[in-house]
């Protein structure tokens, strides 16, 4: 079996002595798209951030392609939540995408025209070619999300970790993101998305990880997204689960 792009073993993370992730073990399969699903406050974003070393883990073992992250930084691209930055920053869309190339450009060297061209290509991949020179403050929420995605694409990574890319975006952006996921997969890449919308998990992703501080289930969506598992993840919010049950049973066979 090939080494998984991301393997997490018994990861524990706590904020101010409150345990947020509890003995989490996840194995991400190469060449597939995986959704991390769970209720608010389940630690979905925390899982990504801890994997990337952005927040300290109390204990646990994380490996990317069988080694530590610093050995394969260029193979891993991160798409943070859109709300995590100040969009009033004085840069345009192309400048932000070019940030994905900074590592390749290296210390102290400026962004040259070849990099700007690469940034434009990445923007075109998310359907934003016409917005390269637009100030980021003047983009809509969905467009900002696509700029973030383009920045990760410019990195030409193998594994993409995305934090809620589908959160409150318009239909055009949703289509653009889905097309990108498809393209990454066709090129042999792997995608992990924190995802909030239970209804679309089965439509958009191959695998799912159900998380609520601990791992409830993981594997192909068809096996994971069962009413039983969802009840274990979402607890008492049964109305939601029951409603989904009917939706899921109709949507999954239709796709296969």
């Amino acid at each position: 079996m090939t080494t998984p792009p991301l393997q997490i073993n018994s990861l524990n993370v706590s904020y101010h002595s409150k345990l947020v992730l509890w003995d989490v073990g996840v194995s991400i399969q190469p060449g597939r798209t995986t959704a991390i699903v769970g209720p608010n406050g389940a630690g979905k974003s925390t899982l990504l951030k801890a994997a990337l070393g952005l927040i300290p883990a109390s204990s646990g073992d994380i490996s990317f392609y069988g080694g530590p992250l610093r050995k394969c930084r260029s193979r891993v691209a991160y798409v943070p939540q859109r709300e995590s930055v100040d969009w009033d920053f004085p840069v345009n869309a192309r400048d932000v995408v070019a940030m994905g190339l900074y590592r390749r450009i290296g210390w102290c060297l400026p962004v040259r025209s070849i990099h700007r061209r690469m940034a434009d290509e990445a923007l075109a991949d998310v359907g934003m070619a016409d917005f390269a020179c637009r100030q980021i403050s003047q983009l809509s929420g969905g467009q900002q999300q696509r700029v973030f995605l383009a920045r990760a694409l410019a990195q030409k990574a193998d594994l993409y970790l995305m934090d809620e890319p589908f959160a409150s975006v318009d239909a055009a952006t949703e289509q653009a993101i889905l097309a990108v996921l498809e393209r990454i997969k066709n090129a042999g890449g792997t995608v992990v998305c924190v995802h909030h919308d239970l209804e679309t998990v089965a439509q958009y992703f191959d695998d799912a990880v159900l998380l609520n501080m601990r791992i409830v289930a993981q594997g192909p969506v068809i096996d994971v997204m069962t009413p039983e598992n969802l009840r274990k993840t979402y607890g008492a919010r049964l109305a939601l689960v029951d409603e989904l049950e009917t939706n899921l049973s109709s949507s999954i066979p239709a796709r296969k």
Binding site: P80, R103, S140, D170
Partner: protein, 441 residues
Amino acid sequence: MAYPTLENVLRILTLQDHNTRIVLAGACAFGVAAGLVGAFLLLRKRSLLGDTLGHATLPGVAIGFLIAYGTGIDPRSFLPLALGATLTSVAGIAALLLIRRFSTIKDDAALAIVLSVFFGFGVALLSAIQQLPGGFASGLEHLIYGSAATMSSTDTSFVLVSSLCIAVICIALFKEFSLLCFDEPYARSSGWPATALDLLLMSLVVWTTVVGIQTVGILLVVALLVIPPASARFWCDGMGAMATVSALCGGLSCLFGVFLSALFPKWPTGALIVLSAGAIFAAGLVFGPTRGILIRSIRTRREELKLRRDHMLRAVFECAENSSESVPLSQLLTKRPWSRRHVTSEIARLADRGLLTFSLSNDSVQLTTTGLSEARRLVRNHRLWELYLIQHAEIAPAHVDRDADRIEHVLSLRIVEELEDILDQRPHDRLVPRDPEKSHL
């Protein structure tokens, strides 16, 4: 107050004094360096930290003075003071980090605590110095309020070399600092040593602060770190342009300030420099071409006019939709709470643009072909958006953009078609006008 004579003014402006030349070079170099560092400090949202560091240099200056006094060096020479200042502002940062790490106090409170405690300590030390024999204390007062005029050529070379180093580092690490300011987690995730970069940026701020003590003084040095970049935001959009304009504003503020203080030697240089910076800021606030008050109010006004035009076109269209194509003015007046004057002036404007015609004989208006197609587009967009808000209330508010040229640019075709179907089933008075681009097919 004595006004400078014309001869004096000429002599200063033409830089005939060796002293004026030195002071000017030092002050401008500092202004440029401060403007560059300040651009990053502002975008990193750490302006208050700059202020705290400035105040934290005071005890250091006093300690440097005392040590120099004790060891027999001229206590007014700048280097021991600069060393002391660096030491205590670094101690200030350390205190901040300790408070942040070992308590749950919020950052703004921590900054206020460090600022006031360090400054209080400095003031206490100063009063001790004033009691020393020798009357050196007046030299220290210069450092609090800034006195570029007393800069010696050694001091100036320190300021020049430091400013050059600071500027070179800022330019070399331009993209690294920009990334750190914009998106620190991403910088970290892609392998940049964000903590080290952050520390380097803060060290540059400390260095700039120390360099600025002689020129603008401890209390006001933060002004040159914050005001020039804030002014630059009114003039330009890009990061590179902003840093350049910010450096320029910093340099110009110092230039004006030094000239003014050469003309009025009794006024503290620091205050004059900061007032110049303030004047530049005010000019940007009003006249700035990207974010100035004037340009913004012009834009708002333009949008108001467009909205009024759109409302009127829609009103005419909606009246005409149900009856003959010519709409009497009286009917328009009932559509919205409009005054007759408003309606007639708006109609005159629309007629000027060839969107409708007005007939005096029966006091009524009629849309022209262009007017009709424009109005149809507006009404269609408006009604579809309205319906979208009702049908998809849970996600709609994030997407509604009534100004979008066409709803299809924002929503997918599938949703638009679905909305059109719903509208079609409604009573005839709420029909969606056909898409003008499809109508000729």
